[in-house]
Symmetry: C2
Subunit: 474 residues, 2 copies
Amino acid sequence: MKTIDMIIKTRHMYTLEGEGVGYKENQAVAVDRGKILAIGHRDVIKKEYTGEKTIDASDKVVMPGLIDGHMHTSLATLRGLAQDVGNWMMHGVGPFQTSATDETRIAGAKLGMAEAILNGTTTIGEDGDCTDEICKIIERFGARGNVSARIREAKNKVYQPGELYEYDENKGEKALQEALTVHKKWHNKDNGRIRILFGPQGADFVSEKLLLEVKKQAKDKKTKIHMHLSQGSRETKQMEMRYGSRTIPWLAKKDYFDENFIGIHLTDALDEEVKVVAERNASMVLCSGSIGIIDGIVPPAKRFQDYGGSVALGTDQAPGNNCHNIVNEMKLTALFNKIKYEDPEMLPCWQALRMATIEGAKAIGIDDVTGSLEVGKQADMILVDLKHPSLAPLYVSPMRNFIPNLVYSAQGSEVDTVIVDGRVLVENREPKTFNLEEIFEEAQAQADLAAEAAEDKFWEINGVNAVYMKEDKL
Amino acid sequence: MKTIDMIIKTRHMYTLEGEGVGYKENQAVAVDRGKILAIGHRDVIKKEYTGEKTIDASDKVVMPGLIDGHMHTSLATLRGLAQDVGNWMMHGVGPFQTSATDETRIAGAKLGMAEAILNGTTTIGEDGDCTDEICKIIERFGARGNVSARIREAKNKVYQPGELYEYDENKGEKALQEALTVHKKWHNKDNGRIRILFGPQGADFVSEKLLLEVKKQAKDKKTKIHMHLSQGSRETKQMEMRYGSRTIPWLAKKDYFDENFIGIHLTDALDEEVKVVAERNASMVLCSGSIGIIDGIVPPAKRFQDYGGSVALGTDQAPGNNCHNIVNEMKLTALFNKIKYEDPEMLPCWQALRMATIEGAKAIGIDDVTGSLEVGKQADMILVDLKHPSLAPLYVSPMRNFIPNLVYSAQGSEVDTVIVDGRVLVENREPKTFNLEEIFEEAQAQADLAAEAAEDKFWEINGVNAVYMKEDKL
């Protein structure tokens, strides 16, 4: 009998191996030194191993942790300040974001990550500023981190619609140097739990020269580029004004798309552009909730898949989504695509679940270590409590109803236990690696400062939400 | 100093009075004998009244209870068995529903109502069978009930696409008599907390003769008709086969639409048909999640409102939604309409909230007693806990972010306390009037029977979900 770190026993396991969902009954998973050592019938595992810790998950489903491919948790301090508005960037988040400080962002990152982890996210696909601080938080909270170091050359200001962004070469160069430093410090740290990608904000926010330099550096450092791509008519307009070309054809000419490119959103991409990106083996992140709120658009993820590309889900940001909850993204993704194609059979629940797990892991290049429960992979998993009205009753035959209910009925709060690299981050819904009360306090203190700093700009811009405030509609 | 039943103090109250959301700071509400006796600054209320019970809701938002205008909670035992399928009625819920018994339905009603109440619903707009039993459960759980007694004349069987429904005159007559009995027994019972409406299942499920008789009876009894209306191409086809006319023009000719008609879904209604129904002062219930899943369609609720009609939200049923959660319906309603019109300013959060409260109450004809917090109305209210990641941080100025976060970020589980007619049904998320563990057990026992009864039919029909089962996709 071998003593190992942890054994989890369950009646219902979804491994997400193969082309389906990998359902197995009466299983146990043996975890040692962060990895999945064995999966088998629980009686067999019980005979072979003793766990330092044993979790009896008989009333729970054991499944892979959820993958969030694209998030700006650092904006979570600004939750709920930018929706129902036509010009999200300038009139929605604008007045608040331009007043934000590093302290706003750090408090937000803690809040957004805590929220995501409590909703079952094990991989944080952060994209943003303060990357070094972000990595420290990920390290402490114990999540898997797939962090893009933001590179932006455009000056920070509230631009008018149609105003070409001003570049600041020094700013761009500084951002690249910081990305390289962060990469050196954090990439593959903690036994590979944290990976650093390069994140030019978009082809409109970075000069051609710097974009090409970033591509070269990513190749040198054997990492990926994670970049907003054709993210809306605003970007398309900037590209057409500057280069006389739409984003995707322009980048394609510069050989920007390959298996190390992750394109975010593709909101404004034409069908032939989607084809180009997918066929060059780049991948895509779909942020259904965010793009639904910000643009009223369902991005062409289904077409991207049809052309052979892999798609991950992402929660984007709390001002304009307004949550970091991949359970919610699965639901919205399935429903939005049914509506887009007027077809209830479009994007069934199991496809949404695969996008949130193994397909998502593949899209962001971490399926070698996570996204499914398989021997040799890292032990990233969640236990979902079946004793919730949203998941009851349970059918096993003739049809299993857990995945339909997880995707279409569950809220996120059914996630009971969260494990990353074999370490328990949340158990019985209690965080073990962070203090929620402290996180709320810090976020509230920063929100109070942000509110004060943004006040004049908010009223001056007089966007839709300012009007609603005056009309007692908020 | 007057002693009354209950005082609730809060920092943040939304009354939903007027045309907006009725935000008020540092308020207290005085409740006595089921009614709202006074609302005012908390210091003032404190001086005038002593409560037998006092709730300090400083970290919570006080707002009206949510209205669910259309639900089949009796189907909740079949949760998650009918989605991702093109022919929902015959190939989705069909094999399970035709095997269901009254015990299946009663167990389902308890589960579905418990779920709804825990997510903040105070008015249960049940439509279905076993009405007498349903009323007993509502009475015991303490919710407000707006119950439609189902009248169906078509025989219960799995019809093939294009097969005209067979009527059974005796069945129809029996259903009407039962509806009249239930009406007599329950209408306006419990101080008016329960109301009985007449619920012909649809113009395709009931003969012309019986439809007209129901209309006459509803007028006599001074109650409303609650009926599926133009609920999809399936219904339209039935009507065209039988009468050579689409549903709405056919019913309009028979003067079926007036202020006592509530039309459900209007999924397949043409714009001129929507206009007819709205302009005759009938109202509408919008079931965004259900129709999204079942049909991939966003019903024309926005147009209905444009033509001056009132619209309530509804959760429909758990096999094909898959939850009874009006918080979820607010989110889907706002998002689906943004997508339908490709406009992020369409259906802002405050409109979704009004549809779930005061507008919804108006649509189903109970705004005299509920839907907003006003002196003289019944005390139907919920307390929403702000100490959740989905609702943090809180902004009060320059912009209040609670309603955006309630609509776009909240899950439903943030609802802490539920009060109907001044009675506490849920407090600190603990049900006071029902036992969740018993409800789960009963639902599971019934589900196990339903699974067995449906098995042969499920495989015989071999719908999409049967195929997915064989392919390890569920």
